[in-house]
């Protein structure tokens, strides 16, 4: 499943996209994220499955533009910690 967490508002589109088929639930991204945006648990949109996958926490879903901002300087942006930590490449950002 491709899960798009985030929102679109007057200033732009802010989505963190997770490919739950690639996610193995290892939690490496959870500990790598300084903003505590991610967590791992049962897939709430696939209630009949027992696999645990990463998701954007409820508290952060509507403010990732701001919570993720420290990892996204305008110049010389280093790789995002969450994406760098994810070996299967399950995480991407829209902005």
């Amino acid at each position: 499943m491709i899960a798009n967490y985030g929102y679109k508002d007057g200033s732009g589109e802010y989505f963190i996209t997770i490919d739950t088929d690639k996610c193995n639930g290892c939690r490496d991204c959870v500990s790598a994220c300084p903003g505590r945006v991610l967590d791992v648990g049962p897939d709430e949109n696939d209630p009949l499955s027992d696999d645990e996958v990463v998701f954007v926490t409820d508290e952060e879903r509507k403010k990732i533009k701001y919570t993720c901002a420290p990892c996204k300087p305008r110049d010389d942006r280093p790789p995002l910690p969450c994406m760098a930590a994810c070996e299967p490449g399950a995480i991407s950002h829209s902005w």
Binding site: M1, I2, N4, K8, D9, E13, N45, P47, K62, S94
Partner: protein
């Protein structure tokens, strides 16, 4: 003194199947407590037996109880007869008699699959206060989704505000917005607050009600398309939620995307609760 008419108030409804005797059957239910409306759906052996659709009150547990009680009216059922209940929607954790809460994304995919059949691949739920675009497979399992609940632009709540502003019943808005000679330019913002200001200005300039409604409806259709663009539309394409009943928005949406929108005899507002009730049956049978 005459009573002020509540023009935004849409018709609440309930229904019981005349052909089903529930006795001896597995009864499951789904309750969708949304931001604007609440629905309860009761299934007998997985077949739609009864439902209710009413306004959400200020208290989620009460709204859930009212919805299920109204659905059970005329059926002779009591809460004890229901083997499993799943709650969904904004108030899903506040359904006191439920065994489990499931997201509305999963429930709309499942319910939409049941309503529109296994060929539906894209479901757009246009609810009271948010909008969800969902892709699903032939079994109604979510394969891709996007939800916008940060902003209520282009939702049912916006339509309610317009009904009130223009003095038109919400049930007539769709047809009225199509009753025009020429499509006016859309209002520049779908933000409910800004659009209302803009509409007030247009009325002052002498625009008739139907033209203002047309301008708002097309702005709404346009906004929904920009949301859909992110995940794309795969056919077949269906819409659930209250706005699916608004011909003005649906016709414009259909025209702009160039893809036919599926039709159904079901009440489009019950999709979430129907999906929840189907999950309730699956979970009961799995012993979860």
């Amino acid at each position: 003194m005459t009573e002020k008419k509540e023009l935004w108030r849409w018709t609440e409804s309930r229904w019981t199947s005349p052909d089903i005797d529930w006795k001896g059957k597995l009864i499951t239910s789904g309750v969708d407590v949304g931001s604007v409306s609440s629905q309860a759906v009761i299934l007998a052996d997985g077949e739609l037996y009864a439902f209710s659709n009413m306004r959400t009150g200020s208290n989620s547990p009460d709204s859930a109880i009212n919805a299920i009680n109204w659905a059970m009216e005329e059926t002779g059922l009591t809460l004890e007869d229901i083997a499993y209940t799943v709650g969904t929607g904004y108030g899903r954790v506040n359904v006191p008699f439920s065994q489990r809460a499931i997201t509305e994304i999963a429930c709309h995919a499942r319910g939409g699959n049941h309503m529109y059949g296994p060929t539906v691949r894209t479901i757009l739920d246009m609810g009271g206060q948010d909008c969800k675009a969902i892709h699903c497979d032939e079994k109604g399992k979510v394969t891709n989704f996007l939800m916008n609940d940060k902003c209520a632009a282009g939702t049912g709540r916006g339509m309610e505000v317009f009904a009130d502003l223009l003095g038109v019943s919400i049930n007539d808005i769709g047809d009225l917005s199509l009753d025009i000679d020429e499509e006016p330019p859309p209002v520049s913002s779908t933000c409910v607050v800004y659009a209302k200001t803009e509409a007030t200005g247009l009325l002052r300039e002498g625009w008739p009600t139907n033209k203002v409604l047309a301008a708002y409806s097309s702005a709404m259709a346009h906004r929904i398309i920009t949301l859909l663009e992110r995940i794309g539309i795969e056919e077949d394409f269906a819409i659930t939620g209250g706005i699916a009943k608004n011909r003005g928005v649906i016709t414009r949406l259909e025209k702009e995307v160039g893809i036919p929108i599926m039709k159904t005899d079901y009440d489009t507002q019950i999709a979430g609760a129907l999906g929840a009730a189907l999950f309730a049956k699956a979970l009961k049978e799995k012993g979860k």
